[in-house]
């Protein structure tokens, strides 16, 4: 395979062979003729994703009374009615602060994603679980993971290896389209495949960027060494991307190259957020169906949602703190309106994934998506009883459509479960009081 060819060899090949004369092994023989699965019987890939909204919910209007399948749809779960059978609701899971402060809109989000309450605001030393999963399953797709946000702000990303390595979110649907389906895209269902000589050349020269890696790493202190090493890892990932472009991609029956989206205005006004989320949804679905990635992270609104509604003076976040509770409705009506927009968008996202046929079922059946927020009741930044939903069957590994009530358990149980389902070899996860060895067994097949 091209990836196994040392750079020096490639360069030598280029030098001696004149114009591109590299043979790249084709993979046709490895594929079954109908293209729905690999010839060796391996099932379709199972993908993992996260879907995030900011500023939580109202627990008493959220949590169903009934557990198990066919759980009751409370007022705030109404939008998921059409896809209830595909969504598992997890209630009663907490971030255990373990003596650390509750850093508002941070501890809940990062605690859930890293299995440890962060010591400082806007800092996290541990990788988020999507990164751990991508390390295990994402190495053989073009992108190890893809991050997008509907808020227009690339800083709105909660996927990170550490505070220094935050995977930035793509805010522009058009730029996201170009990254995925632009000139570098290899259509898995394309009639004929010829490795692009330009890509070969790029691949061969790119390794030379790391020529002085060893020397550089000895010249700096330990912390800087880790940062430079991350840089070289990033170079390596681009090399792997190019390697993949030089091989005929396996056919993907559900892959339909989407149309190029218009250059839409970006921003945090809710109608813009909803519109951009729809565009991003269509692109992300096809990124999955076309095997461009196995791991993704979508942000609908940011932690401490600064979403606005045209003509009103307060953001969603400000409303959660300043709006009075309407006794008749039992909630802050305007803040809750924003929350309902979020849940509606999540339901749309799930339905869209479920509308794409793949193998014997749908794309959603071959995915596992974690949706959650940074807090439960945002007014007091509660990290108790966080709103968590799972969608998809993970290729038949989990039972969808259940309500599982934790009883104040650590939320790291959820993260451990997701990693295990996705094949990460891990038997315990979390730090301090968040450490657990107990997955959420109820959802496992």
């Amino acid at each position: 395979m091209a990836s196994a060819i040392a750079r020096r060899t490639v360069l030598r090949g280029l030098c001696h062979g004149g114009r591109v004369a590299l043979a790249v092994p084709l993979l046709d023989c490895l594929l079954s003729s109908n293209g729905t699965a690999l010839a060796d019987g391996r099932p379709l890939p199972v993908r993992f994703g996260t879907w995030f909204w900011g500023c939580g919910m109202n627990p008493e209007r959220w949590t169903p009374k009934k557990t198990g399948p066919d759980y009751d749809l409370t007022p705030e779960l109404q939008p998921i009615a059409p896809v209830r059978g595909k969504i598992t609701l997890l209630s009663g899971f907490n971030v255990e602060l373990d003596g650390k402060p509750n850093h508002v809109h941070w501890s809940g989000n990062i605690g859930l994603r890293t299995g440890a309450a962060p010591a400082q605001a806007n800092q996290n030393d541990l990788p988020t679980l999507d990164v751990l999963i991508a390390d295990a399953v994402g190495t053989d797709s073009r992108f190890r993971s893809l991050e997008v946000t509907a808020t227009g702000n690339p800083r709105h990303s909660y996927s990170s290896r550490s505070t220094s390595v935050i995977n930035p979110s793509e805010p522009s649907p058009l730029a996201f389209y170009t990254r995925l389906f632009g000139p570098d895209f290899q259509d898995p269902n394309g009639a004929d495949f010829k490795p692009d000589p330009k890509v070969m050349l790029r691949r061969s020269v790119l390794s030379s960027v790391s020529d002085d890696r060893k020397r550089l790493l000895t010249e700096v202190g330990a912390a800087d060494r880790a940062r430079l090493d991350q840089y070289f890892t990033s170079v390596r990932q681009l090399e792997q991307q190019l390697d993949m472009q030089l091989q005929k991609p396996p056919p993907a029956e559900a892959c339909r190259v989407p149309g190029k989206p218009a250059d839409a205005p970006l921003g945090q006004e809710i109608t813009q957020v909803v519109a951009n989320h729809r565009l991003m949804t269509q692109l992300m679905i096809m990124a999955l169906a076309c095997n461009q990635t196995k791991v993704f992270n979508m942000v609908f609104t940011d932690s401490a949602s600064s979403t606005t509604k045209a003509g009103t003076d307060k953001t969603h976040h400000t409303l959660t703190h300043e709006e009075a509770v309407d006794p008749a409705q039992g909630c802050q009506p305007q803040a809750t309106w924003f929350e309902m927009q979020s849940i509606q968008a999540w339901a749309e996202f799930v339905a869209a994934m479920d509308a794409v046929m793949e193998g014997p079922g749908t794309l959603l059946d071959n995915c596992l998506v974690l949706a959650h927020s940074d807090t439960s009741f945002a007014r007091i930044h509660s990290v108790v009883d966080l709103p968590i939903m799972l969608a998809g069957g993970a290729g038949g590994r989990v039972k969808p459509g259940l309500h599982v009530a934790g009883t104040g358990d650590v939320v790291s149980r959820v993260g451990l479960t997701l990693q295990q389902v996705m094949g990460v070899p891990v038997d315990r996860w979390g730090t301090g009081k968040m450490e657990t060895r107990k997955p959420v067994g109820e959802i496992l097949v």
Partner: protein, 553 residues
């Protein structure tokens, strides 16, 4: 060049001559060397300087997370993620393709290849060493040149075009860590036994990024290569040259952009129904207005830093006219403008950049403004609110008892858990309530007159102008500037061993009449700025032998 600028340059030259004697500078321990990722602006400026301003840089720079209140410090912890590198790859290939295209070749390739379709190692070496030196901010070693030429020759053979070969090789230079990261290298300090200092090229980078926010130019790299930056005379000469250049304004603007968190303008939006005048053009102009004010006052006029809080002199363009309710004659561009003596506007705090940035999308925010003044301009940390704080009772704008922000906040901060922090934020933030969430002037809120009175650390004021004067006279403001500038320059927070040196810096700033250009000169010509505590690794000495002390070739 304006007459004022010429005068400034002459004055600078005179000061430079006087700076020949070593000032009474206390020892500075220095700290570990840093590895700082280039900012977007630094990257773009470097490309424009080397290849021309018409070269397009197309791609997204991954964000740097602020630390110690600055992007410059965040850059010392920043790395490159896979998607970030993908973008650097896109940008590098785009730049390299333009640099050697038909339109630019005559300017960028100053040797004639033997054939257009075959490798010419000598010509490639010449071009790649020349650009490599400017990109890496030091000369390339022989091995490094050989490696780049190997890439160029191989790519030339493959593509059948000499310039395509150059293009691929230049792209790799643009993707290498030596370009994307500023890697401090140090040597033993011959003047202070047992101590270390930055090597000449690292000094050149520090100087150039601090004063111009750009990579060192060829002249400065020459000076570094000749060892000039290690002599007082040579260092002073280069510092004076950089300070006298119009490019100093870029450096000062970059510092204030960082200090005032201007990257927030990238995503700043106001509700168009509540603030119909606020547009993308207004946001961009507001930012530019402040930077123009800063550059004019502190660089061209070489005025007292504290005047920034009270100056009535600024600049206007067409976009800002309606926001400030002033006529703007110029159809294009900027014109100087002075607020009349009885105008409620004057000073940094009354500018739209400040009042709109520190506000909500549809509402002003005395708390955000008070917090920004405390933290950015006085370096006084405001603690985070308790997680379970309840704002609802007092933030109900429909309550007739609490029509104004002052009334609502007063009720709020009587709650004991809230009092501590709001006491330090609100009195100064409320002084700016005459400016709505988009920076427009107003005298009432919900029909009730706005009371802008308050006090700053015991000094009473009744108007935004008087708040500016209180800030002008607060010693914390100048100490904050010194501390922030030093963090910005060094890429890190000060360490305990620098305390005496920082006090000296503050004293010098006061003695020089709080002039920013003088403060920059003091820092740039000091020994302390280049002090390094100890090698970060055992092999650093050896590496420095190979890289830090290479002479210009």
């Amino acid at each position: 060049m304006s007459r004022a600028l010429l005068r400034g340059a002459a004055a600078l030259a005179l000061l430079g001559a006087l700076a020949g004697c070593k000032p009474d500078e206390p020892a500075n321990s220095g700290a570990q060397p840093v590895v700082q990722r280039l900012s977007e602006q630094q990257y773009r400026q470097t490309i424009a300087d080397i290849f021309g301003a018409d070269i397009k840089v197309t791609g997204r720079f991954e964000p740097i997370v602020r630390r110690e209140g600055l992007q410059a410090v965040g850059a010392v912890a920043a790395t490159v993620t896979p998607s970030g590198f993908e973008q650097f790859d896109v940008m590098a290939r785009g730049i390299a393709a333009q640099a050697f295209d038909d339109a630019h070749r005559a300017r960028t390739v100053d040797c004639q290849p033997k054939a257009a379709d075959a490798p010419d190692s000598a010509c490639a070496a010449h071009v790649l060493a020349r650009y490599g030196r400017l990109l890496f901010r030091r000369p390339l070693t022989d091995d490094e040149v050989k490696d780049r030429v190997a890439v160029a020759d191989a790519a030339t053979r493959s593509a059948g075009n000499f310039y395509a070969g150059l293009q691929f090789a230049l792209a790799t230079e643009l993707e290498m860590p030596e370009f994307l990261f500023r890697i401090d290298r140090s040597v033993a300090d011959p003047d202070h036994s047992g101590q270390r200092r930055l090597d000449g090229y690292a000094k050149a980078s520090r100087l150039s990024f601090l004063l111009w926010n750009a990579a060192p130019d060829s002249e400065l790299l020459d000076a570094a290569g000749h060892g000039d930056l290690d002599t007082r005379r040579g260092l002073t000469r280069e510092v004076d040259r950089l300070l006298a250049s119009p490019r100093l304004e870029e450096g000062v603007r970059a510092f204030f952009s960082d200090m005032l968190v201007f990257e927030s303008f990238d995503t700043l939006a106001k509700d168009p129904l509540i603030y119909p005048k606020f547009s993308t053009a207004v946001a961009a102009s507001a930012q530019e207005q402040t930077l123009k004010t800063v550059a004019d006052l502190l660089v061209r006029q070489n005025a007292d830093y504290r005047d920034l809080f009270v100056t009535r002199h600024t600049f206007m363009n067409r976009a800002l006219g309606p926001v400030y309710y002033v006529p703007v004659a110029s159809k294009e561009g900027w014109e100087p403008f002075d607020f009349p003596a009885d105008d409620p506007r004057g000073g940094l705090l009354s500018q739209v950049s400040f009042t709109a940035l520190y506000a909500h999308p549809g509402q002003s925010s005395p708390t955000l403004r008070g917090k920004a003044i405390r933290e950015l301009l006085l370096c006084q940390k405001v603690p985070a609110p308790p997680a379970n704080v309840d704002f609802t009772v007092v933030q109900d704008t429909s309550n007739p008892l609490y029509r104004t922000a002052r009334a609502r906040l007063t009720a709020h901060r009587t709650a004991p858990t809230c009092a501590g922090c709001h006491k330090i934020m609100d009195p100064i933030g409320l002084a700016l309530e005459n400016f709505d969430g988009a920076g427009g002037y107003r005298t009432t809120e919900a029909g009730t007159p706005i009371d802008a009175s308050g006090d700053l650390n015991g000094r009473a004021f009744t108007t935004p102008i008087e708040l500016g004067h209180a800030l002008h006279d607060d010693p914390a403001a100048t100490a904050c500037l010194v501390g922030t500038l030093y963090k910005y320059a060094a890429g890190r927070a000060p360490v305990p061993g620098e305390a005496a040196w920082l006090k000296w810096l503050n004293d010098r700033f006061a003695a020089d009449g709080y002039r920013l250009v003088d403060l920059l000169r003091t820092i740039a010509t000091s020994d302390g700025f280049y002090a390094v505590s100890q090698p970060a690794s055992a092999s650093r000495d050896e590496a420095n032998l190979r890289h830090g002390q290479g002479k210009e070739g």
